[in-house]
Structure formats: structure tokens, C-alpha cells
């Protein structure tokens, strides 16, 4: 990791980031550096600030103290900077957030035509390419409401990928899915990881973490409590809170 970060700009750097919701502090002195191509899995109990952390990276939440730097661009209140970062960072949500009034294909081509200024035909070619990648090109003409949860989430991933992002953020992408649909989404994420995408995933899918993560981060009460490679993290956690959390989610 140190090798990579010296030759290229880190994908994400967070330095002493603090955030409050009203009086309640959700992020406490977060320091995090994610190298280009690195896959980071973030886990922790609910309310620990993990979703807020990755939402700060694409400015869906404002941080109130500290610095966030994404791909060499400082994330501040400069609209041009925010737009630039959002174009390079893709995000997949727990609730999919597909646009229900557009077909699957229109969901994918919208930003390509409006933001990337592609012609509709070009945009549709790109979109079909990514829909094939997530293995549902045959659903292109349907509306999101006609698809299963797993299919919708794969469309949401394809929609993000259309923008050719350098970083992908996943905010509990499988938490709203029926059990039998989780693996179809994880398969897509695994293949994305294997292609070298920089990924930050908030997830409780520990099998996924073991398989693709370069680093697992455990958060609790707004702090990064522990971070290490998956092997150490699962087999030899050092912090008591991590041990407790792992015993709770792995006992079944």
C-alpha cells in the first residue's frame, strides 16, 4: 500500500474529519487514506458513523472540521470541486434509488447525456455494455418497479459504472435484499474488485470482505477502532469492541 501511495495520488485522504448532527458527534477525528485500486470494507454496529463516513466522500453530507481530499481535489464548498468529484465517484445505495419514472436504459443514459454530453446513441451503447456486465441486458426496456431487488441493485451498479468512476462507494448494498438475491449482487461487486476498481464498501457481508478486501475497518461510536488486513481482522482482532462485534455477527 505504501508503495502505491508514493507513486500515485491517493484516491481518498481524510484528515481529522469531524462531523456533528446537531449536538451529536457522528464522526470523531477520522484519519483515513485509501490508495488507488484499494478495496476497503467498513463495518461496525448501526449508528457507528460508517455510512456517514462514505457519504462525506461524495459530499452527500458536509463535514464540519478536517480535510477530505478525493483524487487530489479538495472537498470544500466550491461547487466546481464538488461537481468534479461527484463525476469521478460512483455511489450505490441500500435502497437502490433508481429513478422509477425512467426505464432501466434511461436510468443509465441520463447522466451520460446530461453530464458527459454523449449523444443518445453513444450513451445507449455504453449503457448496454454495462447492463451486459451486470448480466441483465434483457431488462433494459423495463421500469425499475418491474424488477426484483437484486436486479434493481445490479442496474444501480451499472448506472454508476456508466459514468466511468475512479472510485465506487457502496452503502450497505445488500441489506435491503431478500437472502436469495444477495449473491447475484456480490458477484458483480467481486468482479468489479477483480478489475482493479477502488472500492469503499459499508457491508456486513464478511465472506465478501474476506474474499476481496485489502483492508477491513471497524468503526464504533464515530471512531475508527481497528483496521487491518482481513486475515488479521477476522482471526486475530486486537480490540475488545471488534471481538464483541465479530462474535455477534459471526455466531450463526
Amino acid at each position: 500500500m505504501s508503495d502505491q501511495s508514493t507513486v500515485s495520488i491517493p484516491a481518498v485522504t481524510m484528515a481529522n474529519v469531524n462531523k456533528w448532527f446537531g449536538e451529536f458527534q457522528v464522526l470523531k477525528d477520522i484519519n483515513l487514506e485509501v490508495a488507488d485500486g484499494e478495496k476497503v470494507v467498513i463495518c461496525g454496529p448501526s449508528g457507528s458513523g460508517k455510512s456517514t463516513l462514505i457519504r462525506c466522500i461524495c459530499k452527500l453530507e458536509d463535514h464540519q472540521r478536517g480535510d477530505i481530499n478525493v483524487l487530489g481535489t479538495e472537498l470544500n464548498n466550491d461547487i466546481a470541486n464538488i461537481d468534479e468529484i461527484r463525476r469521478e465517484v460512483g455511489m450505490v445505495f441500500q435502497q437502490f434509488n433508481l429513478f422509477p419514472h425512467m426505464t432501466v436504459l434511461e436510468n443509465c443514459t441520463l447522466a451520460l447525456t446530461l453530464v458527459r454530453k454523449k449523444s443518445l446513441k453513444e450513451a445507449e451503447n455504453i449503457a448496454m455494455g454495462f447492463l451486459e456486465k451486470v448480466r441483465i441486458p434483457e431488462q433494459a426496456g423495463k421500469y425499475p418497479g418491474e424488477l426484483s431487488g437484486g436486479q434493481q441493485q445490479r442496474v444501480a451498479i451499472a448506472r454508476s459504472l456508466c459514468m466511468n468512476p475512479k472510485i465506487m462507494l457502496f452503502d450497505e448494498p445488500t441489506s435491503a435484499l431478500d437472502p436469495e438475491m444477495i449473491s447475484e449482487v456480490l458477484d458483480v461487486m467481486v468482479s468489479l474488485a477483480e478489475e482493479g476498481m477502488t472500492m469503499l464498501c459499508v457491508t456486513h457481508e464478511m465472506g465478501f470482505a474476506r474474499r476481496v478486501a485489502d483492508r477491513v475497518i471497524f468503526m464504533d461510536e464515530g471512531e475508527i477502532v481497528e483496521q487491518s488486513d482481513p486475515n488479521t481482522f477476522f482471526n486475530n482482532p486486537s480490540n475488545e469492541r471488534t471481538k464483541l462485534f465479530l462474535s455477534q455477527i459471526l455466531q450463526h
Binding site: 452527500l60 461527484r86 433508481l98 419514472h101 453530464v115 421500469y143 418497479g145
Partner: protein, 359 residues
């Protein structure tokens, strides 16, 4: 007898359903029979009055007294007043053509092909332009007819179309303004909307027609008709803005967030993600507001305009026709019904069409 097929749901025959729903008990039978008799009588009475025992042509007016049915002679003789008001007789073709143009414009804008800002503006500039040229004249050798002499159906349609076309964009601006993240803007828009919603339409029209001439400089005043339309449009927009705001509030916040992470800017998110969904969400209320507005155009009579209802009163108001006011109001009622019913059917069709995918 064929073997029962268990792969299909059990079929219930029409007669069984009828029996279950309307003739299950003696009391049910009694109520059903009474209802049928009542409605049959009412419908027969109306059909007899309107069609079987009625007199149709103006020449036969003398027969009306003994016929016992409707005397449609009054419509035959006086329909031009109902349709055209005080518009000069020899120019009635202009008013007719103007109505046709305006109705065609309204029908055309119901087709989704026209639903882009450019096509809709083009259509309406063309529609309104032709309407104005036909009604007002002054070009192409048409004599000038000032708005005070416009009347009847053409005026009703003009007021409705103008109020809708000014009020709709305004309502979107008001709804977005009220939801602004800047507290000052949100409060100002909120006060504006609530101020106009707490006034009766009558007051607003009176103010526009009678009081504004004392307040505004002459060059800003314009014709009374345009002031009244402006006041009406603001009133319409304030109500419609609340309908649209309700639709906007029903959209989950994740929709806007998804738009943000795709790099869409504010206006792209508003026009492509928020407004289309807001319209879908509050379509019944939005259509309802149009329906109410069409009917409320009759209030402009109060400030001296001869829209269709006032023209109707003028149509039966003289000589031998004074006894036939029922026929005139039924006729005008039918015209209102035609417009409003088409509007609500179109609303129902839209709801069905847009529900695709929102399962």
C-alpha cells in the same frame, strides 16, 4: 359433465353475482327494485322532456307552450349570443376559428410528443398568437375588436387557457421557492402563497379590475381583461403550487442523492428527477385544480365580462325567450360538461399511463 379444472380460479356466473349482490334477501330485493324504478323514472322524464316532447327549431316556438317538453327553439334562435357574446355578428367566424385553434392547442398539448419545453412553448405561442390575431384583429385586413367586446365560449376558453398557461409555470416556481434551502426565500414564497390562498377569488378579481388602476402607472396597466387574467393566474398558481409541493415532498430523499452522485446539477435534478415524479404523485390534485379553474371562469361576470354563462343570461333575457331559461342553462351545462368531463377522463388516462413501472 366435464371434469372440474382445478388449474383455473372458480368462475362465478353473472346471474350468481347479481343474486349475491342485489337480491340476497327480501329487503335487498325491495331496495334494488325501488332504486331501479326511481332511476328509470328520472331518466325517462328527462329523455321525454329533452328529446321526445321537445321542439327544436326557432320557427316552431309557438308550439312550445303545448308541447310539454323542452323548447330548444331558444338555442336555435339565440346560440350565437351564447357562443359569441357581444362579438360583432359578421365577425363570428373569427371567434369560431379562434375557439377551434385554442381547443386544438389544448388537445395537442395532451399528447406526450409535445412534452418538452421547446415543443410546448412553440405550440402555445402559435396557439395563443393565432387566437389573439383572430380575436383582436388589426392585421391581415381584420378589423380591430377590443377585449371588452369578446364574449361567450371564446372568452371562457381564452381565460381558462391563459390562466393555465401563465399559472402552471408560476406554480412550479412558487413550489420550488417554498422548498428552497434558504430560509428567507422559503418564507417569502410561503407568505406569498398563503396570502393569495386566504383571499377569495372574487376579491382578487375585483382588485385586479377596479383597484389596480389607482395603484399602477398607466403604462403598466394594460387592458382590464389582462389584469383580471393575471390576478386569476396568481390565484391558480398558489393553489397549484401547493399540489406540486405535496408531490415533491412525497419523493424519497434518495432520489435526489442518486442524482447528485451521478453528477447532475441542481436544475438537471429538478427537471429530470423531481418535477416528473412530483407531477405523477399529485396528478389527481393537479387535474382537479384545472377542473375547478375551468368552472370558476364564470366568476369574471362580476367584473363585467360576458363569458359563456353571462352570455347565456343575455340569450334568454329578451322578449318571448325569458321563459326558456332552463333550456339555456341545460345547454350551457352540457358545454361545461363536455370540457370538464374530457379533462377528468384525460386525467384518469394519464394516471393509468404514468403508473407503468410505479407498481
Amino acid at each position: 359433465m366435464a371434469a372440474t379444472n382445478y388449474n383455473i380460479p372458480p368462475q362465478i356466473s353473472f346471474s350468481t353475482k347479481l343474486k349475491q349482490n342485489f337480491f340476497a334477501s327480501p329487503l335487498d330485493c325491495l331496495i334494488s327494485v325501488l332504486c331501479v324504478l326511481f332511476f328509470a323514472t328520472v331518466i325517462y322524464q328527462f329523455v321525454d322532456w329533452a328529446f321526445l316532447s321537445s321542439i327544436w327549431s326557432a320557427e316552431d316556438e309557438s308550439l312550445c307552450r303545448d308541447a310539454g317538453g323542452a323548447c330548444w327553439s331558444v338555442i336555435d334562435a339565440r346560440h350565437r349570443i351564447i357562443f359569441f357574446g357581444l362579438f360583432p355578428y359578421e365577425e363570428h367566424w373569427r371567434s369560431t376559428l379562434a375557439c377551434v385553434v385554442m381547443v386544438a392547442t389544448m388537445i395537442a398539448s395532451c399528447f406526450s410528443w409535445f412534452w418538452s419545453a421547446f415543443r410546448l412553448s412553440f405550440l402555445w405561442v402559435l396557439g395563443f398568437g393565432s387566437f389573439y390575431i383572430l380575436m383582436h384583429g388589426g392585421v391581415f385586413g381584420l378589423s380591430v375588436i377590443t377585449p371588452e367586446r369578446w364574449g361567450g365560449l371564446a372568452l371562457t376558453i381564452f381565460i381558462f387557457a391563459a390562466v393555465s398557461i401563465i399559472g402552471m409555470p408560476l406554480s412550479i416556481v412558487l413550489a420550488l421557492g417554498r422548498r428552497s434551502k434558504l430560509p428567507v426565500i422559503a418564507t417569502l414564497f410561503g407568505l406569498f402563497i398563503d396570502f393569495f390562498r386566504s383571499l377569495p377569488l372574487l376579491t382578487i378579481l375585483f382588485t385586479a379590475a377596479v383597484i389596480t388602476p389607482f395603484l399602477l402607472p398607466g403604462w403598466l396597466l394594460g387592458d382590464k381583461l389582462y389584469r383580471v387574467i393575471a390576478g386569476f393566474a396568481i390565484f391558480f398558481a398558489c393553489y397549484q403550487a401547493e399540489n406540486i409541493r405535496a408531490g415533491l415532498q412525497a419523493i424519497p430523499p434518495g432520489q435526489d442523492e442518486a442524482g447528485k452522485t451521478l453528477g447532475l446539477n441542481f436544475w438537471q435534478r429538478v427537471t429530470r428527477i423531481q418535477l416528473p415524479q412530483a407531477f405523477r404523485n399529485s396528478l389527481p390534485a393537479i387535474v382537479n385544480q384545472f377542473v375547478i379553474t375551468f368552472k370558476e371562469t364564470s366568476i369574471v361576470t362580476i367584473v363585467g365580462f360576458f363569458e359563456i354563462l353571462a352570455s347565456g343570461a343575455a340569450a334568454y333575457g329578451t322578449g318571448k325567450w325569458t321563459v326558456h331559461y332552463i333550456e339555456v342553462y341545460v345547454f350551457i351545462g352540457a358545454i361545461y360538461f363536455m370540457f370538464v368531463f374530457s379533462l377528468s377522463r384525460y386525467g384518469a388516462y394519464l394516471e393509468k399511463k404514468l403508473r407503468v413501472g410505479n407498481v
